[in-house]
């Protein structure tokens, strides 16, 4: 049997590789332990010299780059075409794409352009006893996990939520870098014109990178109480997390801190949830936290079933007491 070829879309952030590239690389290395898989990173951007260098020592076997002004900001047609070109050059068996806001759109688009199947938002990737690549996808908000095979077509495309796998730094390998001629992008006709970008104000520690997440739900009840959630997160050197209703109430601005199927996936050392009911959609995004502490007035709240410690009581009051204790100690 020939060794498998795995292509990973390495997204960029400010000229360097996004963490998701390292997460997927670490996972890809574990898939075929017996036969050494050839793993390539695909980079599509503008001014990617530094990123190519970084990728060359990431532990990948190959790096493909397309460098074009057309790829400076995200554009579905140009990015999909660049990745298609790389896939057609490398001929991967498996193509892993981060299910970020942009990867989430590129994966299905490439699925059709390459006439193959795409498994969405995988929570795990495995190889079964017959050596077949197996993708585990969440359904019904994560209540159910379904196995997905792509038996007939190549590449088997999978999108994976950032944060799903841990980063395990790899030893650099002897790595070849291939920069593709970008003239095909100049010729590409598109009916989509990029107009501009509006960036949100960054709001403290990103929730997916914090060691402690203090997550408030609808049971925090008031904007005033919400300040206690922020105070505790800051005293613990962590980040504020939220559920959907907390966003809808306007207690947090935007969805950057929202945890769950349609938000972030977090696995902090400590997750503290206050006034969170434990809907499947939310649990899906926090269940892998090391220690889960929940505070809810309802003794039968669903969140308690996935918690290590439970407190039946008022969320804001318990959080406030902990803040006071921490402040007294300082």
């Amino acid at each position: 049997m020939e060794n498998k070829k795995i292509l990973i879309y390495a997204e960029l952030k400010g000229g360097s590789l996004e963490t998701s590239a390292y997460e997927l690389l670490a996972k890809a290395r574990t898939l075929f332990p017996a036969a050494d898989a050839a793993i390539a990173l695909a980079i599509a951007g503008c001014g990617i010299d530094e990123a190519l260098k970084e990728a060359a020592v990431s532990g990948a076997d190959l790096v493909y780059g397309v460098d074009s002004p057309r790829l400076e900001l995200y554009h579905v047609d140009y990015h999909a075409e660049a990745l298609k070109k790389i896939a057609e050059t490398f001929h991967p068996d498996i193509f892993l794409i981060p299910a970020s806001c942009t990867g989430e759109e590129l994966a299905p688009t490439l699925g059709l352009k390459l006439r193959t199947g795409v498994a969405a938002h995988c929570v795990d990737l495995q190889v079964d006893q017959n050596g077949e690549f197996l993708q585990m996808v969440p359904a019904f908000g994560g209540k159910v996990i379904g196995e997905i095979y792509t038996p007939k077509t190549k590449p088997q495309i999978a999108s994976i939520k950032p944060g799903m796998f841990s980063v395990i730094r790899q030893q650099p390998r002897s790595c070849k870098t291939v920069l593709l001629d970008d003239s095909f992008l100049e010729e590409l006709k598109t009916k989509i014109k990029l107009r501009g970008i509006e960036k949100d104000e960054p709001s403290g520690v990103p929730v997916e990178q914090a060691d402690v997440v203090v997550c408030g739900g609808f049971g925090i009840e008031t904007a005033d109480n919400w300040k206690q959630v922020e105070r505790l997160a800051s005293l613990l050197g962590g980040a504020v997390g939220s559920t959907r209703p907390a966003v809808d109430q306007g207690w947090v601005s935007g969805e950057q801190q929202m945890i769950g199927t349609s938000g972030k996936t977090v696995r902090p050392k400590v997750y503290i949830g206050a006034g969170v009911s434990g809907a499947t959609h939310h649990i899906c995004g926090m269940k892998d936290s090391n220690v889960i502490i929940s505070i809810n007035t309802d003794k039968d709240a669903e969140i308690f079933a996935v918690s290590d410690y439970k407190i039946v009581g008022d969320g804001a009051a318990v959080i406030k007491a902990l803040c006071e204790l921490l402040e007294r100690r300082q």
Binding site: Y74, V76, D77, C101, E104, E105, A107, P108, T109, G111, L112, R115, T116, G117, V118, A119, L134, P138, A139, K143, V144, I145, G146, E147, I148, Y149, T150, K191, I192, K193, R195, G196, E198, K199, D200, D211, V212, G237, G238, D248, S262, K269, V270, T280, N290, V291, A305, V306, D308, Y309, K310, I311, V312, A317, V318, A321, L322, E324, L325, L326
Partner: protein
């Protein structure tokens, strides 16, 4: 302006905690969980109705679903859609997003209407792949963008704002185009009594396989490049230890737990 809205009946997402897998048959037990129109699709329909109010024209809804979903499709007509198309045939069952989007594209073609804009919800609550809008655009060879929070139409162009991780990106798409509308991006209107009365006279046209010019190799489970294996319910349960006492006592216990978990405070 002719606008098509893709709608999918799904089990009510607020009730997913109740879902079980039958240990014998390994099938999903959905009993007691009502079917609703996918929440994001209502946002798409609302966006379509507002565009119609501004620019005139008509709004058609299209769905690939079992026949019993007609009730749910009626709800879309009562909200204000002008007509509906229901693609329904055993042959389409088990389709993944590749073959669902293919079949929807064929259904849209069959209507004979020149659509200027095709809206879909950004993601369905059950499968939540968020694939169908992009893939529909690819099959129809039309520009497509997903995760849209705002859409305006002027001079044959759709100006849209797309949500990305750290903000919004703005694009202009030439019409006709396909757009995936983000959940919660607007407040879908309620169904009025007048709407229900009017819906009685609106048509729901049903298409079966023989009505559509489809390639058999691209429909249903057998035409799908992805194939399902087993269903599993992950066991996420933990032994919740109850902490009791006054808030101050609980706080002291929590601090010890947090430190033990490796947080230096």
């Amino acid at each position: 302006m002719n606008i098509a809205v893709c709608v999918k009946p799904v089990p009510d997402p607020e009730k997913y905690n109740l879902l079980e897998i039958d240990p014998k048959t390994k099938r999903l037990v959905r009993e007691g969980i009502p079917t609703i129109i996918n929440p994001a699709d209502k946002n798409a329909l609302e966006a379509a109705l507002r565009l119609k109010e501004l620019h005139g024209g008509r709004v058609a809804v299209i769905s690939m679903a079992p026949l019993f979903s007609q009730d749910k499709i009626k709800e879309c007509l009562a909200m204000g859609a002008d007509e509906a198309y229901l693609i329904s045939d055993r042959a389409f069952g088990g389709a993944d997003t590749f073959s669902t989007s293919y079949t929807l594209a064929k259904g849209l073609e069959k209507t004979g209407i020149q659509f200027d804009l095709i809206l879909a919800g950004n993601d369905s609550a059950d499968g939540a792949t968020s694939h169908v809008p992009s893939q529909l655009g690819e099959w129809m060879e039309l520009p497509h963008i997903t995760n849209i929070t705002e859409i305006e139409i002027h001079d044959g162009i759709a100006s849209v704002k797309k949500k990305i991780s750290d903000g919004l990106i703005e694009y202009d798409m030439e019409l006709p185009a396909v757009a995936g509308i983000a959940r919660n991006s607007n407040q879908p209107r309620m169904v009025s009594a007048m709407g229900i009365v009017k819906a009685k006279n609106k048509k729901i046209e049903v298409y079966t396989q023989k009505d559509l010019d489809v390639d058999e190799g691209l429909i249903g489970l057998s035409g799908s490049p992805t194939q399902p294996g087993q269903l599993l319910t992950p066991d996420m349960s933990r032994n919740a230890k109850l902490l009791q006492g006054e808030p101050a006592e609980i706080a002291a216990e929590l601090l010890a737990i947090i430190r033990k978990a490796g947080i230096a405070v």
